[in-house]
């Protein structure tokens, strides 16, 4: 009986370690999106609307 408990505790402990080293993929994606929005200022431009449409177009198209 005692051995069973020890085995169970060991399992629980190893679960601890497993979770701690697991890479949080969804959180990383969220963090990446947030930083990309700020660096490229895509989100702000989209939300405010007016600013996004005008300045980007003329200069960039001619370079192609």
């Amino acid at each position: 009986m005692k051995k069973l408990w020890i085995a169970f505790a060991g399992l629980a402990l190893s679960a601890c370690v497993t979770i701690n080293i697991y890479f949080p993929a969804a959180a990383a994606e969220k963090a990446a999106d947030k930083i990309i929005e700020e660096v490229w200022q895509t989100q702000k431009a989209d939300k405010s609307g007016q600013k996004a449409d005008k300045p980007a177009e003329p200069a960039e198209k001619e370079q192609k």
């Binding site: 701690n20 949080p24 960039e60 192609k64």
Partner: protein, 138 residues
């Protein structure tokens, strides 16, 4: 005895949940991350036309590269190279800084590949992105 062991196991599970909760979000609000972010934000105004002309593309490893030097006038080529180098320094530092700030330096590679996917996914139409070794235009 049994109760003690049971209590111990319950507290272990509580610890598991606590650790799980702390890992649910990545902390990106550190002085280091913010400084790199601002530097990249300021540089983006100069890089944006290079993305649009196809001179600079987004690589599959989360960096940028001068993929078509001919798209940049000779006189500006050196400054374009310097921009790319500075941007890549910041990007490498950003991935390492996020990993370190969250106490897992070994996550740097996974953070880099997550960013690589997101940069490419969010690239504007007309920009060049690298996927599976080849280049394609968004």
């Amino acid at each position: 005895m049994m109760k003690n062991v049971f209590g111990f196991i319950v507290s272990l599970f509580a610890l598991v949940f606590a650790l799980n909760a702390s890992a649910a979000d990545l902390d990106i609000n550190t002085p280091g991350v913010n400084a790199i972010k601002q530097s990249m934000q300021a540089r983006h105004a100069q890089l944006a036309p290079l993305y649009a002309s196809g001179a600079v593309g987004l690589t599959s490893d989360g960096l940028v590269t001068l993929r078509d030097a001919d798209a940049v006038p000779l006189a500006q080529r050196q400054s374009a190279n310097a921009l790319v180098a500075a941007e890549n320094r910041d990007r490498n530092a950003l991935y390492a800084e996020i990993a370190n700030a969250n106490g897992h330096p070994e996550w740097e590679g996974e953070i880099r590949s997550t960013f690589a996917q997101r940069w490419i996914q969010r690239a504007q139409p007309g920009w060049w992105v690298q996927s599976g070794g080849g280049w394609s235009q968004k």
